[in-house]
């Protein structure tokens, strides 16, 4: 391998993201797995930003409105996501309240901020810390699924607490909005192409 050719793009090859087979640049579908291939993910930057915006907009109703309402003896008590965490903390279950706090507050916000920063760093053509940025991207992609915990907790509580009107849990508007946040951030991470981070450096050399 000659020293000038560093990337597959420079060598006129396209990597198939599904089966990791290298294809010639004029191919439109992968030779091995028949997946449509592109030199970089299509409209990666725009699509990531669009999904991020969706997530930010959905996060507002998700944190304002109650995620579930606990009805005990016909008296309803709505609780938001943050309210639920505080309540658990006061009841003394610190570990679980921390888990839920991380899963439903820290992770979505961190994901949105990280992806926004990555997009911004592409825009200002930042040429340092490529390795760190790639690693950060990798972890945002891995960690995203865990935000769904809160939705599942509501689902389980609803299914379990069917005790003849004594104690009922009803889902709130925020549940759907929060599920939307999680899905939008997952799709944003999927749309982002970390190879763009490295492209700037490769163009110069």
């Amino acid at each position: 391998m000659s020293s000038e050719i560093k990337t597959a793009k420079a060598a006129n090859l396209i990597l198939c993201l599904c089966c990791h087979h290298l294809n010639p640049i004029d191919a439109s579908r992968c030779q091995t797995c028949n997946e449509p291939i592109y030199i970089r993910r299509r409209r990666s930057y725009e699509r990531t930003l669009a999904w991020l915006l969706t997530a930010v907009i959905l996060y507002i109703p998700a944190s304002i409105y109650p995620v579930m309402t606990t009805v005990a003896f016909t008296r309803g008590q709505p609780s938001t996501i943050v309210g639920g965490v505080i309540e658990l903390w006061q009841q003394g279950s610190y570990l679980i309240s921390l888990v839920i706090f991380f899963a439903s507050v820290v992770i979505p916000i961190a994901k949105i901020l990280v992806l926004a920063w990555l997009c911004f760093s592409l825009k200002i053509k930042l040429k340092t810390h490529q390795r760190e940025r790639t690693i950060i991207y990798k972890y945002t992609e891995l960690i995203g699924r865990w935000s769904m915990i809160d939705i599942f907790v509501v689902a389980i509580l609803m299914a379990l607490l069917q005790l003849g009107g004594v104690l009922i849990v009803e889902p709130g508007v925020a549940a759907l909005a929060f599920a939307g946040v999680v899905i939008a951030t997952m799709l944003a991470a999927e749309a982002f192409d970390p190879r763009l981070i490295w492209d700037l450096e490769d163009e110069d050399t």
């Binding site: 993201l17 279950s93 990798k138 599942f152 389980i156 509580l157 609803m158 379990l160 549940a175």
Partner: protein
């Protein structure tokens, strides 16, 4: 071209790694794990998927959790968790939860068995292998069985204060199902899978050439 590969995160052109058992290859530029080779990768995936299917049936037929407060009992089945959203007219949410904890894991498993069993035992490709395999790799990260288990633990601690809760056989089944599913997916390496598929394809082609003679 066969001897080269590229890192999916930084597009660095590499010599395709040749790995021994239990070895991994990392990209020298960005540190991403390019490929890994667990021992008996695809055979393990197949056996763990088969085990998972049985455990999945088990965890769906037996009660998942049973709650009892002041003489009132309520047993919950696994799929009921998603079904309750439907009752309260959150149909989209119900469909979503059903999809990620029930439908998708099951489809992944059935798909994996459908592809891998003929490949490993008879060195044949079942019809539609390519299409199914592509979608399995795409949808892999959307199955949230492990997340659901943590959610079960979280809601249990919320409830043990006000009611007594019994773990059903279904829950134990689901825990082992989750372990088997993660093991099946962890042993599945993209590069190894597609190389194996190419081998089987080659084998089939040779067979076809030999037959007329």
């Amino acid at each position: 071209m066969r001897h080269y590969t590229a890192c999916e995160h930084c597009d660095y052109l590499l010599n395709a790694p040749i790995l021994n058992h239990n070895e991994c290859a990392y990209c020298p530029r960005c540190g991403h794990r390019v490929s890994h080779r667990p021992k008996y990768s695809l055979q393990f995936t197949l056996s763990f998927s088969l085990a998972s299917v049985f455990l999945f049936i088990l965890s769906n037929t037996f009660p998942f959790l049973t709650i009892s407060v002041q003489g009132q009992h309520n047993a919950m089945l696994l799929w009921q968790a998603s079904f309750e959203f439907w009752h309260y007219d959150h149909k989209l949410l119900a469909a979503l939860v059903f999809f990620v904890i029930f439908f998708l894991p099951l489809t992944l498993l059935v798909g994996l068995i459908y592809i891998l069993a003929p490949m490993i035992f008879w060195r044949q490709l079942s019809p539609g292998t390519c299409w199914i395999a592509r979608h399995i790799f795409k949808l892999k990260s959307w199955s949230m069985v492990d997340v659901y288990l943590v959610a079960v633990l979280a809601s249990l601690t919320k409830l043990t204060a006000i009611a007594s809760i019994d773990f059903g056989i279904g829950l134990w089944g689901y825990i082992s199902f989750s372990i088997c599913l993660s093991a099946a997916l962890a042993n599945l390496d993209r590069r190894r899978f597609w190389r194996y598929l190419e081998k089987v394809r080659c084998h089939q082609r040779l067979k076809q050439q030999k037959q007329p003679i």
